[in-house]
């Protein structure tokens, strides 16, 4: 069987008749369960591979993404760059042996978190996977304390007990990153349930990867969320690799976003590297959720530029693929947008410098943070 990833076909190509099993979204019949909004989404969705195809940075797939104010884009750029620099600092620290265990960075995923965070409100809830540093920062966690947590220091958000895989900050709505793939989805559904039971208008969003899509608990959660019309957003950051294996090797379906429609759920596939597109998609999904219209599934196509985890040998993908993807990565896209708005290079450079400096301070803060008191190990088992 011909697999798309092997042919390296160009994105937007609809000529995949040679690839058995790959449906064409535009030709898909979703009769019966979809409302007009979804039908419209579907109609405007170009066929795009979920394998290693290049994703055009300007493709707002299936949705209209109104331009955001330049001031907000600048803030988004600052946020995305903060994530990028923190992740790079963490990778460097891991190489120096300052970080133990498994650490998964989100380099290349930044726009998914930033676009979504700017689209939601204070009081909304989020859960995510162990690749969750970007969500932590996007939702407002202090980078110094975040790094301290990864390093297991006393000033970490969870006093060093959670580490990289368990970012949590309830004051910012982040109710927990999770070390078990897919386990966080029902938690978000439960948070959405709490909002619904209390008659609040809070929305919950849960982030997961393409690999998590195949966990049984995800599908259990899709069904209940859709049936109960929970105010919930399922956001799949499809970076096209489930850990070290390209998704096309293990997935029996081509376009993940089509599948949740079987549960009667609205869904869309978007460019997850474009903050404006992510912002628009999550805004639409949140509006639906707050209006009592139930959950939305968003598949954000993105790409992980670093390894699955610190120390990943990355034998499963060619360097050329990574280089190719760099043209479409979130920071490059954001800078292009800013330049197109007439933002001066000096202004971008100034932000770069500021973020760089504050990241140095954050790392210094974390490294200066004391180890937790050994007695801390015995606290918090029970309340």
């Amino acid at each position: 069987m011909t697999q798309r990833g092997e042919t390296q076909s160009k994105a937007k190509s609809t000529d995949d008749s040679a690839a058995p099993g790959f449906s064409q979204p535009g030709a898909n019949d979703v009769s019966g369960v979809q409302d007009d909004w979804v039908a419209q989404t579907l109609k405007t969705s170009p066929a795009i591979s979920i394998t290693t195809d290049i994703l055009p940075s300007d493709s707002a797939m299936g949705i209209e993404a109104p331009p955001l104010p330049t001031e907000q884009l600048l803030e988004m750029y600052r946020g995305a760059l903060t994530i990028r620099l923190m992740e790079e600092s963490l990778l460097a620290a891991a190489e120096e042996g300052k970080i133990g265990g498994a650490m998964h960075t989100a380099i290349g995923h930044e726009a998914n978190a930033i676009g979504a965070a700017f689209a939601l409100r204070p009081g909304d809830y989020i859960t995510c996977t162990y690749r969750g540093h970007h969500h932590g920062l996007a939702w407002g966690m202090d980078p110094g304390r975040a790094i301290a947590e990864v390093m297991g220091r006393a000033d970490g958000f969870a006093k060093g007990k959670g580490g990289s895989m368990h970012f949590v900050s309830p004051e910012h709505g982040l109710m927990g990153a999770n070390g078990i793939v897919g386990a966080q989805a029902p938690h978000a559904a439960g948070l959405a349930l709490a909002s619904w039971l209390r008659g609040e208008d809070r929305v919950a969003i849960t982030f997961f990867g393409d690999g998590a899509f195949y966990q049984g608990v995800m599908h259990e959660t899709f069904n209940i969320a859709a049936k109960w019309k929970l105010p919930l957003i399922f956001y799949c950051e499809n970076n096209r690799y489930s850990e070290m294996t390209p998704i096309w090797r293990t997935s029996s379906i081509d376009d993940i976003y089509l599948f949740p429609r079987s549960y009667g759920m609205a869904s869309m596939q978007i460019d997850g590297n474009d903050v404006e597109v992510v912002h628009a998609a999550v805004s639409q999904a949140a509006a639906r959720a707050r209006a009592g219209e139930g959950p939305t599934f968003i598949e954000g196509i993105t790409y992980r530029l670093a390894g699955h985890m610190a120390g990943d040998l990355e034998t499963y993908r060619p360097q050329a693929e990574i280089e190719m993807q760099k043209a479409y990565e979130p920071l490059t896209v954001l800078r292009q947008k800013l330049r197109a708005r007439g933002v001066e290079e000096t202004q971008i450079a100034a932000i770069n410098e500021e973020v760089d400096e504050s990241m140095d301070e954050a790392v210094a803060f974390a490294e200066g943070s004391p180890w937790p008191d050994p007695a801390e190990a015995y606290r918090d088992v029970y309340t």
Partner: protein
């Protein structure tokens, strides 16, 4: 004193706590319109409506995980597992998530959640619907484990459990459901503290530490031992497995000098193994004979009445073991 069945006592506790606190809600399979497979949640839907009594699809991982999510923000979900055996279906959510959540978040979140349902053998449900899971729960720090044997205790403990700010597994037993016993008047602030054992029969020769349906078997066994052999057993009902009230047990052993732990889950790595080990660690000077334990035979639970009765550690096995110990 008024008498109720075990089921009625639990139903009353649920109703009273749902009236008392609007954050309390029920979630599980067939708990609403049907009223629970064993009718434990009967009529609660009528009073509280579909937002407080939620019928789920057969998706244990999802609804247990959702209960956790809701508990993170102060809701007090009570999850019914139709059979406690289904703990294994939802094991990731229970042991990897619920038990660890407060700890992994450094105490930023606490999880006021109850997982309740019936377990145990005796009704010929076979290998996947008759197991006892208390030692599984007790193995993981972060979940309290409660297993009452009487309607009185069931009501008082369930009310305490619902008000507790931690996750608790509340283990009922299918053989206890239709037993009757003293019950306090409804709507009373009848609370039995978690973590307190109780002496259910006084005696001077030997201490039997047990809980749940085995308590009834031990009481019957003790009556026989007294009548036929003149042996006077003291029976301590643990009521709570985690945290374990060893103080009450050691007080009894100080009197009798002999300890027999009895439970329905496997002897291997069971609560009996734990109790016997702790007795030798903490109070070896009190033991005048080797401490022993009785548990399920190391086989899956068979359906046939003849076979099931063979492997369950009930009255006859308790009597035989006590007689052996008395000879030592």
């Amino acid at each position: 004193m008024r008498r109720t069945t075990y089921i009625q006592a639990i139903n009353e506790a649920l109703r009273e706590e749902m009236r008392r606190d609007e954050n309390v809600f029920l979630i599980g399979e067939d708990v609403g319109h049907y009223g629970g497979l064993f009718r434990v949640t009967r009529n609660l839907l009528d009073e509280f409506g579909e937002k407080r009594v939620l019928d789920t699809p057969i998706s244990e991982q999802a609804f247990v995980g959702m209960a956790l999510g809701a508990a993170m923000v102060g809701m007090r979900p009570i999850v019914e597992l139709m059979y406690m055996d289904f703990t294994l279906v939802a094991a990731d959510q229970i042991f990897n998530q619920i038990a660890k959540y407060a700890y992994m978040t450094g105490g930023l979140l606490n999880i006021p959640l109850v997982i309740r349902g019936q377990q145990g053998g005796g009704k010929r449900y076979g290998s996947q619907h008759s197991q006892s899971v208390e030692s599984l729960y007790a193995h993981f720090p972060g979940i309290k484990v409660v297993a009452p044997a009487t309607p009185y205790d069931a009501k008082g403990l369930l009310k305490s459990v619902i008000r507790d700010d931690n996750p608790v597994a509340f283990l009922e037993h299918k053989m206890l459901y239709f037993t009757r016993g003293d019950a306090p008047p409804p709507d009373e602030e009848h609370l039995i503290p978690i973590g307190k054992a109780e002496v259910k029969r006084e005696g001077s020769d030997l201490t039997i530490a047990t809980f749940s349906y085995c308590l009834l078997q031990a009481l019957e066994g003790a009556a026989t031992l007294h009548e036929k052999y003149g042996i006077d057993c003291e029976i301590v009902d643990l009521r709570t497995i985690e945290p374990l009230d060893t103080e009450t047990i050691w007080e009894s052993v100080a009197k009798t000098g002999r300890l027999l732990a009895v439970h329905e889950s496997y002897a291997m790595c069971g609560i009996g193994a734990e109790l016997v080990a702790r007795a030798y660690e903490e109070v070896p000077h009190l033991l005048r004979a080797p401490a022993r334990r009785v548990g399920m035979a190391p086989v899956s639970i068979p359906v046939s009445r003849a076979l099931e009765e063979e492997v369950l550690p009930w009255k006859e096995e308790i009597i035989a073991t006590v007689l052996e110990m008395e000879r030592e």
